[in-house]
Symmetry: C2
Subunit: 198 residues, 2 copies
DNA sequence: GTATAAAATTTAACAGTGTAAAGTTTCCTC
DNA sequence: GAGGAAACTTTACACTGTTAAATTTTATAC
């Protein structure tokens, strides 16, 4: 009896449709324009159906946020096998972060609660910083800085703030067409930071 | 006839009351909880009265944002007379930025559209970056870096992103009670940046 | 002091929001 | 085909920003 499986497939499809629609509306009109009713209209269901898939709007955004962080972790894992030099790895990852912000701006906005995106749950950040010990980029940081674990932990936070902070400021304060011209400046900041570490 | 003047005084008072109330609610419950009706209730007027003072909610937030930037500019002007060394000046200003974020968190949130605060008008940023040429901190940056105007302009943007970016990331991702412990890390980032400039 | 004009303020309304409860339809099993 | 469960919709509530119309308060002229 493939009925249950078919139902399960459909459920999964609707779920991803909801997430995609939310991102689409956010991309077109900004997060302040994303409403349960609008999503429902696009996926051609009545609004309460969304609550069969997500407890509330906040959990929906939390899912998008988590998917964003997951994507970046995966990208980092990929390039970890390509670059042996820690410096190269950091620089490459900074480029990935920049591209991510440009191409999936609306996801980035949810990840850091900017520009009208608001996800009250801060669980993702706790996980992010709790991962410190087995964070994909962590061991490389140890390689560059031959210091105590605490020092490296601090440096990791500095790195986090430098990269994501630069992206946040840029996306919030700069008009879209300006962003590409700012990438070299971002990369120079990253390189300067890495140089300052030795 | 002091009638008109009394009216004008009262108008000014109500206006500042509106701004203060908005900040108060934001401080207590977050910006997503700030509504025209709630502000009206606190200042004991009916909601439409607020539109006699601000065109719309966005302009109200814009005012709070502008006051935030103005405050920081003034603080910078003050310390400019105290410190002759550019490095010292930058470090001191970074400390002022940190204090400002801690003590006027809700204003900082509006300034950078984070955590539910959303002011669509981006005029303040345009002004901020247009001021580049006569920005209070600008001339000191030239002193440290003996380079072309373009290079210094880039470095100014890097500085902006480093400081405000660090604050943004910290305020969004960290629980309140963690923030004080992060100030030294912030200051170290700032010092490392300045060291990297020479 | 009262009538009149102007200014100040409120009430009512519209179209939108997230979300819960109740009602309805569709589907699957026996 | 009947019974029951699953899927889905309708309705409702308490909010939101904002506008137009109605009302009250105030200041001036007689």
């Amino acid at each position: 009896m493939g009925i249950l499986e078919r139902r399960e497939r459909l459920r999964k499809q609707v779920r991803t449709d909801i997430l995609k629609t939310a991102r689409d509306i956010a991309r077109e009109e900004g997060w302040q324009a994303v409403s349960i009713r609008k999503i429902a209209e696009v996926i051609e269901y009545s609004p309460p159906i969304l609550y069969e898939y997500f407890d509330n709007k906040d959990k929906l955004l939390e899912t998008i946020r988590n998917e964003g962080f997951t994507y970046l972790h995966e990208e980092l894992q990929k390039i970890k096998t390509l670059y042996r030099s820690p410096e190269k790895l950091f620089i490459e990852f900074a480029q990935i972060q920049w591209r991510f912000m440009l191409e999936q701006t609306e996801v980035f906005q949810v990840m850091f609660n900017i520009e009208g995106a608001l996800c009250q749950s801060k669980q993702a950040y706790q996980i992010e910083f709790a991962m410190l010990n087995n964070h994909p980029i962590w061991e490389d940081l140890v390689q560059i800085r031959q210091r105590s674990a605490e020092t490296v932990s601090k440096t990791f936070y500095e790195w986090w703030c430098l990269t994501y902070g630069f992206l946040m400021v840029s996306i919030v304060t700069q008009p879209r067409q300006n962003l590409p011209s700012l990438e070299p400046i971002f990369m120079e900041s990253v390189r300067r930071f890495l140089r300052g570490l030795v």
